[in-house]
């Protein structure tokens, strides 16, 4: 019985417990309308607070671009005249290989081809003695490489030659020595110069001889002239005598005439004596016939002697007169002889002088030839130094370079275009929307990055096209060229983001999220500042707005960085989405 009561009690307790549990469950599930309303009502909105910040605001133009190296430019190898034949390419670089100044870009027939910095291409062989802009480029390059070419003056001298030799040696190549043809040419010059020197000596000897001949001719002429002058003087003296004779005053003629007159007088006197003797004899009868005949004979002899004296006087006078006549001839002859001697002397002197002139001319020609050959020999000897053949150097305006494409093949002729290279300056081809293009100017700084690749660099706006649709961009964009500043990151080929700040706040300013600023009824801007749970509107002057932030200026300093401002209120989350 007790057990039965206990069971009933347990049953009642169980039922009560079950009903209690059911009531509890239903109580937890069944809600009154008020509870439902309260439970489903929107939660009380709580403000979303963000701090006021002091930050630099920057308004950016963001675009993309592809990084590339400079535009490809061909590399051509100029033919070398010292080598005679074009070499065959023996090694070539791979595309994308970088080369700096003084490096060997390829080799041809066992000779290197250096790449150097220079605006003008190599167009001729450079050797000691050559000069010009290309040599100056070479010297400048050598100086940059630290090989000290001496004075950078555009003249290829021995110092330049030494620097070139050191440049070759540094990279393990032998410098280009003189060719056999060049040495043979120098030997020929030496022979020619030797012959010319001998010819010069001979000419000088001839000139000396000519000088002496002129002196001798002058001396001879003077002597002959003097002799002729003496003869002339003698002739002139004779002529004076002749002149005296002509004037009847010739002593000889007068003497002859006096002698003739004397002889005639003597003969007449002798005849008169004889006549008188004969008359005496004839008249003297005492005289014999013989005496008469002798007187007669004596008279005749006297008369004959008179005639003889007369004849002799006439002859002497005629001879003297003739002699006087010959004196003029002799004077003229003497004068002619003097003149002839002088002319002869002058002619001989002139001839000797002409010989001397010819000899001097020969000396001059020989000297000039010898000098010219000496200079040429010196030049040729100087050219025997280390030289730079035209096909062993290429000048590139900007270094370093990067091989873009190799167009030549190994074993092909090393002449003309062999490859194209780009400079190592990275550039970015990009584009700007029509509305952004006027805001971007050349010279503006550019932040370059690619988040996915962790790339960061800086650049400068280089070009903004004046018209849309140029350089491969469509008609709704302007081309934008950006030059990448020095960066260790190999950016070529990558697409990168370009951020160009076009307006900044020029330093840190007080800024709040744009959603924190609202308009008051009077049109003023304001922010709702939270001050320890109490909220207060603060009137602000908005400034630059960018990146979700706006610069604000509260004139009464009631808004400072660090304070909290209301940007919104928390609301219930949507069912399916946040």
């Amino acid at each position: 019985m007790v057990a039965k009561r206990v069971n009933v009690l347990w049953a009642i307790l169980g039922a009560v417990g079950g009903m209690a549990l059911g009531a509890w469950y239903m109580g937890s599930r069944i809600q009154s309308p008020a509870e439902m309303a309260a439970r489903t009502a929107a939660p009380e909105a709580s403000p979303i607070l963000v701090p006021v910040e002091a930050r630099v605001l920057s308004s950016d133009v963001v675009t993309r671009g592809t990084v590339r190296f400079g535009l490809p430019q061909p590399i051509s190898i100029a033919p070398s005249t010292v080598k005679g034949a074009v070499g065959l390419i023996s090694s070539l670089p791979r595309p994308n290989t970088n080369f700096g100044e003084g490096e060997v870009i390829l080799s041809a027939s066992g000779r290197p081809v250096f790449v150097l910095s220079g605006a003008a291409p190599a167009f001729r062989d450079m050797a000691p003695g050559t000069s010009g802009g290309d040599v100056r480029q070479l010297e400048e390059a050598l100086a940059r490489l630290g090989f000290d070419p001496g004075t950078v003056d555009g003249n290829y001298d021995q110092k330049t030659s030494g620097a070139v030799e050191r440049m070759y040696r540094k990279v393990g190549w032998d410098p280009f020595a003189p060719t056999r043809e060049q040495r043979a040419a120098v030997a020929a010059f030496e022979r020619e110069w030797s012959d010319a020197a001998r010819a010069q000596l001979a000419a000088e000897a001839t000139r000396e001889t000519a000088v002496k001949a002129v002196a001798a001719a002058r001396a001879t002429a003077e002597q002959n002239t003097r002799q002729a002058a003496l003869d002339s003087a003698a002739r002139i003296g004779d002529s004076r005598q002749l002149a005296d004779a002509r004037a009847g005053k010739s002593l000889a003629l007068e003497a002859e005439r006096a002698r003739a007159a004397h002889s005639a007088t003597a003969a007449s006197a002798d005849v008169a004596t004889q006549v008188a003797d004969r008359a005496l004899i004839v008249l003297d009868p005492r005289q014999t016939e013989t005496a008469r005949a002798a007187a007669e004979a004596k008279l005749k002899v006297a008369r004959a002697a008179q005639r003889k004296a007369k004849l002799e006087a006439d002859l002497a006078i005629q001879t003297a007169a003739r002699e006087a006549g010959l004196a003029d001839e002799r004077i003229r002859v003497a004068e002619g002889a003097v003149k002839a001697a002088r002319l002869e002397g002058e002619r001989n002197v002139r001839a000797a002088q002409e010989q001397q002139t010819l000899a001097e001319f020969d000396v001059q020609v020989a000297s000039e030839r010898a000098g010219r050959l000496e200079r040429e020999l010196a030049t040729a000897r100087a050219k025997l130094g280390v030289q730079v053949p035209a096909d062993e150097v290429v000048f590139i305006p900007s270094l370093p370079i990067r091989v873009h494409e190799v167009t030549a093949a190994v074993a092909a002729n090393a002449s003309g275009p062999v490859m194209s290279v780009t400079d190592n300056q990275l550039s970015i081809d990009s584009q700007l929307p029509l509305e952004a293009a006027p805001l971007v100017k050349p010279g503006m700084k550019v932040a370059i990055d690619e988040q996915a690749l962790g790339i960061k660099a800086t650049g400068v706006v280089e070009t903004v096209a004046n018209t849309p649709g140029t350089r491969g961009v469509d008609g709704y964009h302007f081309y934008l060229g950006v030059r990448v500043e020095t960066t260790p990151v190999p950016l070529a080929g990558f697409s990168v983001r370009l951020t160009i700040p076009i307006e900044t706040s020029k330093g840190s300013v007080t800024a709040v999220p744009t959603s924190a600023v609202s308009l008051a009824a009077d049109g003023t801007s304001r922010v709702l500042v939270d001050r320890g749970g109490k909220q207060e509107y603060v009137t602000v002057q908005p400034g630059l707005s960018t990146g979700g932030y706006v610069e604000v200026d509260a004139s009464d300093a009631r808004l400072v960085p660090g304070q909290l401002v209301v940007v919104g209120y928390k609301t219930a989350e949507p069912a399916a989405v946040k």
């Binding site: 059911g22 469950y25 239903m26 370009l498 989405v577």
Partner: protein, 285 residues
């Protein structure tokens, strides 16, 4: 106990009448309105993100994204059955290695991106195209918003699409393990469990080891990604062995898709429709 049951009946009925959250009829258990809002918001966020990356991207409207979603396993003139029998699920059978914007044939991803974005993409340089898709889609360039929504797998998304989705979807929805609550509810139904068991056995008989039809496409995508280096390998640049492997995968896809589709239509679809009608009083489109 009867009285107890009577006492609890109203509470149980009230509990059943209250529809669980996330049991909308659209993808990810969203209602149509929520899906439209999610698409619009995500596209706006994608466009903003792409602008920040320096790219131009026009936010696609929900109709465009919807069109991309509808383009899945859909070609003009072909029924879904014909499509599946010819092209499987269109995973490996239409693979080219090209980004979706450059696809010329079947490409739900291209449709979902919108024609303007496709044109913007095509005007970019090759390097920019790569960067564009990396910024927009991340590593898997086939996982556009439309495709991800359609296959209900947001885990393969990347780039700005992923970033935008993290702001519009819950973290668990972004995981590969996320399962549509509606599907999960249906799958819990004993009738569906029985039907899935039958499906598994039949598939196994055909040589396909899958536990659920929803496992097939992810498996095919994983296989394709392995074969194509994450979808980056162009078919034209494949080796002979790779091409042979791709052809085998395509054949496998056609076979498994055809078998699965047939089984799904014959076995799973009627059961699913019945359960949906019971749950939502209408058939889910």
């Amino acid at each position: 106990m009867g009285a107890f049951a009577v006492l609890l009946a109203p509470a149980i009925a009230a509990a059943q009448a209250q529809a669980p959250k996330g049991l909308g009829t659209e993808e990810f258990g969203m209602s149509p309105r929520e899906l439209v809002q999610a698409i619009e918001k995500t596209e706006e966020l994608i466009a903003r993100c792409m602008r920040e990356q320096g790219f131009q991207y026009i936010a696609a409207d929900h109709k465009t994204v919807r069109a991309g979603m509808s383009a899945d396993k859909n070609l003009p003139g072909l029924s879904e059955e014909e499509f599946v029998s010819r092209h499987g699920f269109g995973v490996s059978t239409f693979y080219t290695g090209l980004p979706p914007q450059l696809a010329t044939g079947y490409s739900p991803a291209r449709v979902g991106l919108g024609e303007r974005n496709v044109q913007i993409f095509r005007k970019l340089s090759p390097a920019d195209q790569v960067a564009y898709n990396r910024a927009l889609l991340g590593d898997d360039t086939s996982s556009t918003l439309a495709v991800a929504l359609e296959i209900e797998d947001l885990s393969r998304t990347g780039g700005c699409t992923r970033k935008a989705l993290t702001e519009t979807f819950k973290p668990d929805q972004l995981k590969a393990t996320h399962y549509n609550p509606q599907d999960a509810l249906i799958n819990k139904d004993p009738r569906m469990k029985a039907a899935l068991g039958f499906w598994q056995r039949e598939m196994k008989k055909a040589g396909f080891e899958y536990g659920h039809p929803d496992e097939i496409e992810p498996d095919l995508r994983n296989r394709l990604a392995t074969l194509t280096d994450g979808g980056k390998l162009l078919v034209s640049k494949m080796s002979a062995d790779q091409k042979t492997a791709l052809r085998k995968l395509q054949d496998f896809e056609r076979l498994v898709a055809a078998k699965s589709f047939k089984m799904q239509e014959e076995v799973l679809a009627p059961v699913e429709e019945r359960i949906q009608q019971e749950l939502f009083s209408r058939k889910v489109q």
